[in-house]
């Protein structure tokens, strides 16, 4: 502004001042929005990547599991026990008075309808996350014939329900469905 005559009187009035401040506030606000937008990818990059998500469900072939046998499968980098219960084990599980249990659930509630012999649970003790014994041949199954966690002595029965020891809950049953008679999809 070379001389006073060129000054627009509106700029000196109250309205003008507010309008002029507005552009500064707007510029700073838009800058703030930009910073927030730039933060989004920096935060989002820590979420599971596409290759990890692609393995969030797994299919297990159960045709080779004989009655009374169990296998350990891997799902989301954790063990899953797939167990083909014998008639005696099913009877044992059904015999129990559910009301007396720490985490009351029946075997029916823990298995798919019509596939009561297929007990599919996480191999992760609900106490502190150890892998219980009892899924592989020759491992200790504990006094209730299910699973036994060697870390702190939690004992699970043939429906993988907590019966004794420090664990608060039954072994978790992951979401699963039978896509055919021999294939079960977990997750």
């Amino acid at each position: 502004m070379a001389n006073e005559a060129s000054i627009d009187p509106a700029q000196l009035s109250g309205d003008g001042v507010r309008r002029r401040d507005f552009i500064n506030i707007a510029a700073v606000s838009v800058g703030g929005v930009g910073v927030l937008a730039a933060l989004y990818p920096l935060v989002a990059q820590m979420a599971p990547s596409a290759d990890v998500l692609a393995e969030s469900s797994t299919e297990i072939d159960i045709s080779q599991i004989a009655e009374g046998q169990a296998i350990k499968a891997i799902w989301r980098k954790q063990p899953v026990f797939v167990r083909n219960l014998t008639a005696a084990e099913i009877a044992d599980a059904d015999k129990v008075n559910v009301a007396t249990l720490r985490d009351p659930e029946t075997l029916e509630q823990r298995t798919t309808a019509g596939k009561k012999n297929w007990l599919i649970t996480m191999g992760v003790c609900t106490h502190l996350g150890c892998v219980p014994l009892g899924a592989s041949d020759g491992e200790v199954k504990g006094e209730y014939g299910g699973y036994f966690c060697p870390c702190h002595g939690s004992v699970y029965d043939t429906a993988a329900r907590i019966r004794k020891g420090p664990a608060p809950k039954n072994l978790e049953v992951p979401a699963h469905e039978f896509t055919s008679d021999t294939i079960v999809k977990i997750g």
Binding site: I23, N24, V30, G34, D51, A54, E55
Partner: protein, 278 residues
């Protein structure tokens, strides 16, 4: 001190450089650099327009699917695509069931190793698997194609020109009409190599992979000329090298739009702040 020694050091380097320059100039004047077949006959990639060339351009999914078909039926016999997974194919328009089927039917299988028993074996590919590695017994390992268009000057244009550019060396002439074997009789392609003017040293180990029109039958009815197949598979390989291209440009426009707005605003804010100073 600095003003004394500085100029001396400067002159030292200048003289040493002049020595190299003088020697080099003498050699350049007295010795003739022989012409080489590579220099005279190597061709730059043909200009081919792809849908994804411009800043606005995106991949043409139909073309990528055709290109994938060419890869699957021709290239995949020798070349792997190890950075790409079957699930990635969803991005070029295959649905979940199709991806599963492609993975299942893929001729080379995923390798397995049981650390308990030490057994090595095979299993069917899953959508989460990468395209299995291809070993070509006794022939070495042909280059992996995942990144080929980013790993070569000229990118997809180069790949396309190379695939469609095999020529008969006998009687081959360059644009100036000079015949290769007359000018350089020693440049004859050795046995086991194949002549291609788009390849840097004119001879490569890969025989022409796309040899006849209709080698691949496109399901969308596009006529499969050698040029068409070469173009399609080059586009597919551009996608395997840069699968995030569409998203990148899309994000780019949003970012640029925002930045332009913010910068204009910042300019007026700056003028506003400075208005009482000058």
């Amino acid at each position: 001190m600095v003003r004394l020694f500085g100029p001396l050091v400067g002159l030292f380097f200048a003289v040493a450089l002049f020595w190299s320059f003088g020697n080099g100039a003498y050699v350049a004047m007295t010795e003739e650099v022989p012409e080489t077949a590579e220099e005279m006959f190597h061709k730059h990639p043909e200009e081919v327009a792809f849908s994804f060339d411009s800043a606005m351009g995106t991949f043409d999914k139909r073309q990528l699917q055709r290109g994938f078909q060419v890869y699957k039926e021709v290239c995949a016999n020798c070349h792997s695509l190890k950075h790409v997974t079957f699930r990635d194919l969803a991005a070029i328009g295959y649905n979940e069931a199709e991806v599963k089927a492609i993975a299942k039917q893929w001729p080379s299988k995923a390798q397995t190793f049981d650390p308990k028993t030490g057994d090595r074996g095979e299993r069917t590919n899953l959508p989460s698997d990468p395209f299995p590695a291809v070993y070509y017994a006794g022939q070495g390992v042909p280059p992996d194609l995942s990144l080929i268009t980013k790993a070569r000057h000229g990118g997809p244009q180069y790949v396309r020109s190379l695939l469609a550019g095999y020529a008969e060396q006998e009687g081959y002439k360059n644009e100036q009409g000079i015949e290769l074997l007359k000018k350089f009789p020693d440049a004859k392609t050795p046995d086991g190599l194949y002549f291609n003017p788009y390849f840097a040293n004119l001879n490569l180990a890969m025989p022409a992979p796309l040899v006849s029109d209709g080698q691949v039958t496109y399901s969308d009815g596009t006529s499969a000329s050698v040029k068409q197949m070469s173009t399609d598979v080059s586009a597919f390989l551009a996608w395997t090298a840069e699968p995030k291209l569409d998203k990148r440009k899309q994000t780019g426009w949003a970012v640029l739009g925002f930045l332009l707005f913010a910068t204009v605003l910042a300019y007026f804010a700056k003028r506003n702040v400075w208005s009482n100073v000058h």
